[in-house]
C-alpha cells in the first residue's frame, strides 16, 4: 500500500509539473513584451540587454521585398545588371563574408520575387543554400519547397511565410549559440543591397518616393552601426563599421522632420483604413543621393572583390 501511495505521489508530481509547464510561457521566444494597458505607452519596461536589442533590430528589420515593392510601384523596370553576381559565391570562405553575402543575395531574391523574375531564382536560391549550409544554418530552410514556390510564381504569401519563419529560426539558432554577430552581418547585407538597388534605380527613375526611402535609411543605418560596433574588436567588423560610417557622413546632413497630425479613419470596400495624417518629411538632395550611391557602390564592389 505504501508503494502504491508513493506511485500515486510521483504520478501526481509529474501531473503538477506538466500542468505548470502548460501554464507557463514555454520560453519567452516570440512572446512580445508585456505592458499594463492602464500605464503610459512610452518606455514600458524596455531595458534590453545586448541580445535583446540585437533580436529587436533583427526582427524589426523591414523585409527586403518592401524596398523592391516600392521600386516596382514607381514603375522602375527590372534590371538583371543590378544583381549581386553569383559567380564569386564560392570565394566567400569565411563566416564573415558568407553572412554578409547571404544577406545581399536574400535582398536580390526579394527583388526578383516582387518582379516575378523566376529565371534566375534557382541560381540565387542555390547560392543561398550553399552559404546557409556553410554557416551551419541550412537546416532551417526547406530549399526544395522554396524553389518550387519561387519557380511556380504563385503562393507569394507561402513563399514569404516560409522565408520569414526560416530566417527567424535561423536568427534564434544563431543567438542561442552565441553567433548573433552573424545575424548582424546578414541584416547588414540585406540593408546594403536594398539601398544599392534603390540608389541605382534612382539614377534612371528619380522618383520622390525613392529619394525619401533612401533618406529614411538613415534611421536603419544608425541601428546597424549600433549593433556592429558591439563587435568591432574584430578587425573585419571594425572595417565594416568604418565603411558604413563613411556612408553615414553623407546622412548627417539628411534631415527628417515630423509634421504632427491626428489619425482619421475611413471605410473602403469593407475595410477600415487609417490615415496617419502625421507625416515625416525627408530633406535630401540629388547630390547627397549621388554621394550615397557612390559610397554604397564602393563598399559593395569591395565585397565582390573579396
Amino acid at each position: 500500500m505504501n508503494m502504491m501511495r508513493k506511485k500515486i505521489f510521483f504520478v501526481f508530481l509529474a501531473f503538477v509539473f506538466v500542468a505548470f509547464a502548460a501554464c507557463s510561457d514555454g520560453g519567452t521566444k516570440d512572446n512580445g513584451e508585456e505592458i499594463g494597458i492602464g500605464g503610459t505607452l512610452e518606455g514600458n519596461n524596455i531595458a534590453p540587454v545586448d541580445e535583446e536589442s540585437m533580436k529587436e533590430v533583427v526582427q524589426n528589420f523591414p523585409a527586403p521585398v518592401e524596398m523592391a515593392a516600392l521600386l516596382d510601384e514607381v514603375g522602375a523596370p527590372f534590371s538583371n545588371q543590378m544583381l549581386f553576381p553569383t559567380e564569386n559565391a564560392d570565394d566567400y570562405n569565411t563566416s564573415f563574408k558568407q553572412a554578409i553575402a547571404l544577406g545581399i543575395y536574400s535582398a536580390d531574391l526579394g527583388y526578383m520575387n516582387i518582379y516575378s523574375k523566376t529565371s534566375s531564382i534557382i541560381q540565387y536560391l542555390t547560392v543561398i543554400k550553399r552559404l546557409a549550409d556553410d554557416l551551419r544554418v541550412g537546416q532551417y530552410f526547406d530549399f526544395q519547397t522554396l524553389k518550387s514556390l519561387a519557380v511556380s510564381n504563385e503562393n507569394l504569401d507561402t513563399l514569404m511565410f516560409l522565408s520569414v519563419t526560416s530566417f527567424n529560426e535561423m536568427d534564434d539558432h544563431l543567438r542561442q549559440h552565441n553567433r548573433s554577430h552573424l545575424s548582424a552581418l546578414v541584416i547588414t547585407g540585406v540593408w546594403l543591397e536594398g539601398l544599392y538597388l534603390a540608389a541605382k534605380v534612382y539614377e534612371d527613375v528619380p522618383h520622390i518616393r525613392i529619394a525619401e526611402r533612401i533618406g529614411d535609411q538613415k534611421l536603419l543605418l544608425e541601428d546597424i552601426l549600433d549593433i556592429l560596433r558591439k563587435y568591432d574588436q574584430d578587425k573585419n567588423f571594425a572595417g565594416t563599421v568604418k565603411d558604413l560610417e563613411y556612408v553615414y557622413e553623407v546622412y548627417k546632413d539628411v534631415h527628417i522632420t515630423i509634421i504632427p497630425g491626428k489619425p482619421t479613419m475611413v471605410e473602403q470596400n469593407g475595410t477600415f483604413v487609417i490615415k496617419q495624417n502625421e507625416r515625416s518629411e525627408v530633406t535630401i538632395n540629388d547630390q547627397q543621393i549621388v554621394n550615397i550611391t557612390e559610397r554604397v557602390n564602393e563598399i559593395r564592389n569591395k565585397l565582390i572583390s573579396l
Binding site: 504520478v11 506538466v18 514555454g26 512580445g32 504569401d157 520569414v164 529614411d216 487609417i274 496617419q276
Partner: protein
Amino acid sequence: MKRVLIIIAVALLFVGFSAQNANAQCKRTLVYTCATNNGRAIFLRDFNAKLKKSRPEDPAYVAKFSVVLNKGTLYRFNICDPKGFEYTTMLTLFDARNKYGKTYYSGDEASTLGLGDLVKRNYRPEQYKIESNGGVVMDHFDFVCEKSGVYFVSIQYREGYTDNKGCAVGIMSFVGKNK
C-alpha cells in the same frame, strides 16, 4: 487504486498533449492560416502572442511588439484567434505619440468615432461584427503609413475575456499591386 492511477496517468497524458498542441497551433497552423488568407496583402511578419490570464481587478495582460514601418506603404494588420476563441482578442497599433487603430471598438468608442454609420453603409459580416452594445469587432484594418519609424503592436484579450489564457496571432502584411 489501480483505477485511480490509470485515471491520473490518462489525465497527465491529456494535459501534456493539449499543452503541446496549443503551443503548436499558435506557432504554425494558426500563423500560417492567418498569414496566407489575407486578400491582396503580402505577408511580412507575424506577432505570436501568448496571453496570460488576468484577475478582473487587474489591467489586461498585453503582449507588445515593436516594428519598423516605412512611409508611403499601405500596411494591413490582422488578428487571428484559435478556433473556439474567435473575436476574443484585439490588436492595437500605436507609436510614442498616437494610437492609430485597433481591431475592436467598444460601443462608446464606436459611437464617438461614428463607426456605426460607417459599418451600416457597407456592412460586410465576413469582415466585422457588430455587438449588441454597438461595439465593432473586425479581423483587420489597413494603415497608410506617412512616417517611417518605430511603431508598436499590442495584442490582448478584450474586456470580458481577460480570464482566458491562450494565444493569438497578429499578422502584418502590405497591400502591394502585385497580388
